[in-house]
Symmetry: C2
Subunit: 388 residues, 2 copies
Amino acid sequence: MTDKVLDDVSHRRYNPLNGSWLLVSPHRTKRPWQGQQEAPALNKLPEYDPQCYLCPGNKRAQGDSNPHYKNTFAFVNDYSAVKEEQQEYHPPQATSDDDIASLLLQAQPATGRCYVLTFSAKHDTTLADMSASEIVPVIETWTRIYASHLSASHPLNDAGARALSEIPPNADGEVTPSQEQLRYMQIFENKGAAMGCSNPHPHCQIWTTSTLPEEPSKELVQMIKYHREHKGRHLLEDYVKVEMAKGERVVWQNDAFLVVCPWWAVWPFEVLVIAKRHVRALVELTSEERLQFAEAVQEVTRRYDNLFETNFPYSSGIHQSPLDCTEEEAEMSWFHMHFYPPLLRSATVRKFLVGYELMAEPQRDITPEQAAARLRDCGGELYRMSLR
Amino acid sequence: MTDKVLDDVSHRRYNPLNGSWLLVSPHRTKRPWQGQQEAPALNKLPEYDPQCYLCPGNKRAQGDSNPHYKNTFAFVNDYSAVKEEQQEYHPPQATSDDDIASLLLQAQPATGRCYVLTFSAKHDTTLADMSASEIVPVIETWTRIYASHLSASHPLNDAGARALSEIPPNADGEVTPSQEQLRYMQIFENKGAAMGCSNPHPHCQIWTTSTLPEEPSKELVQMIKYHREHKGRHLLEDYVKVEMAKGERVVWQNDAFLVVCPWWAVWPFEVLVIAKRHVRALVELTSEERLQFAEAVQEVTRRYDNLFETNFPYSSGIHQSPLDCTEEEAEMSWFHMHFYPPLLRSATVRKFLVGYELMAEPQRDITPEQAAARLRDCGGELYRMSLR
Ligand SMILES: O=P(O)(O)O[C@H]1O[C@H](CO)[C@@H](O)[C@H](O)[C@H]1O
Ligand SMILES: O=P(O)(O)O[C@H]1O[C@H](CO)[C@@H](O)[C@H](O)[C@H]1O
């Protein structure tokens, strides 16, 4: 058990995965809320929307037409944040220590490829509405896309080849490796208007870049450091052990995955899904583990919806081995998925990470132990099944 | 001039002040927006609202009554995130390297004092509506509160004493030093419902804590490193020089302060106000410089409102010397103020820092040079003056 006193006193907690602290103020939810209320999410969507640029058969903004796909559908984002081809850019090099412009105005070119991937042909569904076996094709497509972008010399190359031969291409849309070898693939979902999602059709994005982004980079540094300092043990290996022994932050688990509200959660109902064995990337999951991962994703998203009986908004993302990396970076990677949901008290009252959080450090109101207890209690049928 | 190519190619920029990178995708604003629209801010507020817990003479949630103040009014937050008194908490110490629970579940107690400070007695005003000389009392109160929390051995102690004797106490509400010596004072404002502000009455918060928060801590580390590596020059001293020479990111300036959209801006119209000379904290500003700082704040907030002809939301915050610190930390501090506003394209369409930004790294659409050019063009009278 956690020291009970942490339910009452303000304290800071350390996030060993990204190396930073956050402020926890358990008593603070008592304050009255007079601020912005989120609009309750629409739930009367049609199964097919002729205006939606993701529905099967529809035309997209730049003129392409979607195939009449059945499961998932992947395509290169019409408004990609990074592209494969662009004008070359050579940042100026500092000529001397007095060349302060080059010292302080540093830039580097960024290329890459951004995909959009739909989870289902149905406009009105979400991961929470889908069964684990319906989520499997999504995970299979993530795996295929990841595998087809691995570098030729990658330590996981054999696993990648095996995955590509084992998993049938069930996504419509072509996923060919990009010309340039890219460094990292970030799979993420923005769900709900509160999280900046501009289309309710269930989908995620996959931004693949020539550079290693800040967050996975910080995590790798921390995991490598932990491994060196603690007799070759992995950070998340130890963390899984601690949480399974303590129990109080565990939301759900199966043989392959542990679902917890991490000790260092910033978002009110933040969740971390961690592989129990040392899985470095999607391509190392067995087909049985892909099903178990689908179950974990299903459990998290259904519990979220049940918590406030709403279409629960969140951003989620997978962290795994870079596509192009050293032996050590691949070896130190540990497959996990973050869920960052903004709602705090109800379907319409969210936590804002604003002034103090942006200027000083993240602050949360309820404790992760309280959040986990509530999510444990939210199992069972999806609340809206009985309303249908 | 910046390499013109940066207006067209995706690239990363480095933030030397906090040591991290962000992704810039200049072409990306072309994508259509079908997502959430912000509610246009109410602007028909009464000058006095009997329901407002910040208006003069009103009762607050926990029963205290506000004085009939004229300028500013400071009081300890009724729902403080940190408090001066709480149960003691002694985090467990790791007994051996195998004590993985103590290694991975680290916490530390956090105490402190949180103030709320109103900017004006008028419920329906904002910094943008106030003149520089009306903003001066706000800056004076910030200075007095900061001065009265400085540690007895602080290198700026004389400056603090001078400020306290020079500035008349114009805030209603008592600001006595706290019992415990605190480490850092974060002054910040959340403005607008989009930035989690729950009351439009113009006010800021001041969270003073026993620990040094992450953001100012990262900045101090970077400033100290720069000073050591570059012949004893200050990072922001050099940065002011570079920006004044280049001009393209400068929004406005007077003798004492430079207002720029920093090279590394994350938020679409992010602004940095930097002291031109080496000012370590509020208490070192002369009365003439306080007026010049008020002018800078006025210029930023008025230009923001003029940009999309709306009550522009933002979070802002001041970074300066810690209250209790080493000689080096005080010496390396350089007074500046950040403004992080969310609006991107209009009064109702904001930038969301969500999926990719949370999981990978911050991403922006327009360049800081484009943002600065637009803010330079937004001077002149506050747009709503002529509508009155
Ligand atoms: O104290 P307020 O203004 O009610 O609260 C606001 O600012 C705080 C400090 O940035 C945040 O923690 C809250 O989420 C936000 O709603
Ligand atoms: O690409 P989308 O879903 O339209 O855009 C959304 O996700 C992106 C990646 O997190 C963000 O940069 C955008 O601000 C957000 O609106």
